[in-house]
Amino acid sequence: MLRNLVRWQACRILLNKSAVAQVAAVRHLSNPFKQNPHEKAATEEPATRIKKPGNPFAKATVAQELSFNVEEPETVIDKPVNPFGKAPVAQELPSSQHVSETKEEREKRLKVLQLEVDIAYQEGRRVPALEFFQEHHWARVLELPTKSARSKYYAFLWQIEMKKESNQRKKEERAVETERRVAEIRKERAENNHIVYGLAHTSMFLRIYDSTINHWQNNRLTRAMQFAPKLVLDCSYDQYMTNRESSYAAKQLMLCFAENRMNDEPFDLHYCNSNFEGNCMQILQRYIPTMHNPEFPINVHRECFTELFPKKQLVYLTPHCREDLVSYDPDDIYIVGAMVDTVNNEPLSLAKAKRLGLRMARLPLDRYLQWGAGSGKSLTLNQMISIMLDLKKTGDWDTALQHVPRRKVVDYHNEREALNKRAGKFNVRIDHLLKSEGDRRTSTAFAEPQKLRHRKEGMDFKLDSWATGKRKTKQSS
């Protein structure tokens, strides 16, 4: 009965309101994470987006989406859907343990921590000198929960300090070395009375500046934004990653953008669910300072992708599901979860896709690659983007999966070459054996080795069919 009620409400909204209001209503209602817990009306999305009349009496799948979405808006943002709990589960955020302290307490703690650093420095532990620390370092130190977390952070800063000192030392050494070399050359030239030959850094080539290339690639991107298929990077996993993982994720997001831009046929990349105050986006801003400029061809959104694109077109690529992606469909919008999951191995992207009722797929890594032992099947974001770009271009999984690092894959090709070389030394032809490895039935030791020159096939002179006008179709071997 509830379902009928819901359908009736949806109908009412769609039929009574104007198109704009419809779209607005739909956009308003469709995001489960929106901060509006009082919406009781159901959602009916994909139809209106594609400008087809909404069909509220459509099949069961729609009703299932309805039932999901009816439950969602009744709860507060990010609250777990607990249909069995007596009361909503109080969510404990891991970082909200510290009670807000007064300014004096903070000052006191800061002084004690500075003393801690000083004493550790005097003991010869891995901490930098007090003068190295700056405001933002202390801000980070004060947030860390335990002493061991602080020691690890100090060790990190110490490494930076040591690298800096070592670079400084090497720079000075190099400066001295250069001085000496230049002085020597000058001396030589002063003694020498002849002409000095050489172009002396003159060149006939035009220098191509980086900015020229950047402008050219950005132009490609603007064209992609108009015509190319879309790909979404879902940046909503900030709270599940540690600080370090967020910075790795930010670097990978930057590399995604770069890889995409460099390709001949880029995607229209959308960074959805981005939290601009979070660590990941802050570091991405450091990598791409012009990120928020309106003329820069990057799409960064606060909203969720379900608000921007119709649900029917979305496919979430997650490694935790069972269905392989068989072929690339240019009408689908693929979503990649922008998360570095070294620490947290919960199936978060799977959970999200299930909750939103999206289609899910995973890359067919097992089918096309022999995975080596001892390396996880995780791929970085830029590797994913490269794979999708190649897949879009060629439709061939083998070329696309070239972007998986070779160290993770057991490489039979090298072994085969080595084997072939050794056989060649004994004058034994074995490539016919190695070629049809997969098909055991045809590869035997007595099978005919193939001819060396494949080019000339079909070009040899056949007397029977010459000038007869008949074309003898050659059967494929």
């Binding site: 003393l115 420095y121 005097q122 003991e123 010869g124 069972r322 959970a351 999200k352």
Partner: protein, 533 residues
Amino acid sequence: MYKLRLLCQLQHSCIRGLPPHRFLASAHKRRPQLGAVQSDQLEQLKSEYFARSEALSNAEWQHVRSVLSGRNKYISAHNVDAVILGMCASGEQLPLAKSYLRYLETSEIEPNAATLGRLLRVYHSAHQLRMLSDKEQSEIMQICDRLQGSHEILDASSCENLIYGLVATTEHWQRAVHFLQMMKVTSTPTVSAYSAVAAKAFTCSQPELAWRLLEEMLEQRKLPKCEVYVAQLESSARDVAGFALQVDRLLHFLGKHNILITDKVAQQLLNLAQQMPQQLQVTSTHLERLGKCAACQQHLEHVAISEAEFASLRDAFLDKVLIRNDIFQKSTPAEVERFKRYVEQTAPYDCVIDGLNVAYSTGNKKPPTQLAQLLATVVRYFKERRKRVLVLGRQHMRSWSKPAMQYIQSNACVFLTSNISQDDPFLLYATLHSGQDTDFFSRDLMRSHAFLLGNELKSTFRRWQQEHQYSLATQTQPMGKIVVKEPIRYLLSTHKLDKGVWHVPCIESYTANPSDRFEVPQRWLCVKLAATN
């Protein structure tokens, strides 16, 4: 290279007499402190100057100092003093340390706070070997006053050094408690700091303070060191009348917190029993079948948890483990609902079987017929004993061999989750909701679920798990008979039987963070105390 460093560390630790497993356990995580990097030259330096425990002359100290700061790029003027004092850390090298301080005085180098802290540690190690003279104690007090005066709140390592120093004196150790409080500003106080103060409190006849500190330690989940128990036993031995009461209190404490005592403490107990046979009788023993003590031939107590504990475990389980923050990570709402209804309809059971865990017990790559066969064998095991079982699995099991699956369907209740859901939480939920008498069958140690339940419920969960978990040990080859490991139904921690006899499990040596135990301890002590009112 990595192994070489381990070997070096082992060698050095043997020289110093520290337990080697301390280095092996987390050697890959620990980085050696910079000053303690032992290269060949430093090794030579160490054997030349630091091996003898007498004072060195000023010239020799100067040489050592220059060598250290010259050869090692991480040691320079600001940290070489602390490094040197770190190298003469053992109790016999106290005169060496003091001579270094005298050298610093003559060369007009002001020793920094870290150096003084390390000196206090050397005093503490010396105190553990012998009593310190009055002069030495006054030196300690001077240093303490100096360190305390420089800053209002001190950091954690300085506080710890001060605690070590104060505990080495006889009159001023009470101030160490104040420093323990100060340590809490920046970090939780270390096990060593707590243990030092508690042991001193016992030795100086202030048991209430000591017990308070021990309770505090266990709230932070830090295990007290052996020296605390040894000190407690020694101090209670001095007072013959109340001795039995004190030992009783110690044993209660061990039982409540599920602590195993080390061989050292066990030896101390045995010694005391020999000294005072009327008050205390201790025998070293082991357990026979079904939890019978070999010495007194009595059965140990049952491990069952109380009704209230069971109820709280059951209620918390669904929220904390299955749903947690996001139901979709482990399952879907529809599936949980379906499962709840099924359990309500078909409960109670005698055993809940984790189908996939059982099926894959003998190996991962077996064909589905064999997997189904193994599962059917386990179901038959229970059927022979007239037990009612529930089998949990996943949808793909429908395609396993028909005869085996039909046997299972006809002799057990079956629930199959979707292929992408986790089935472990369902197993535990069904077992808990079926009642106190239900067991479950799985080889899984359930570590993640124990963690997710939180600290308070974790111990309850482990006891319940110990009482109710069957697991498949192995399957004999030609016949295919299965060997089932039944749950251990007797209590594995220190407890008292009705007749007033205590049984205390022992472990070989002390570990700071023991993981959950799943085996029965090998060595037990059977302790009989004199009658207490």
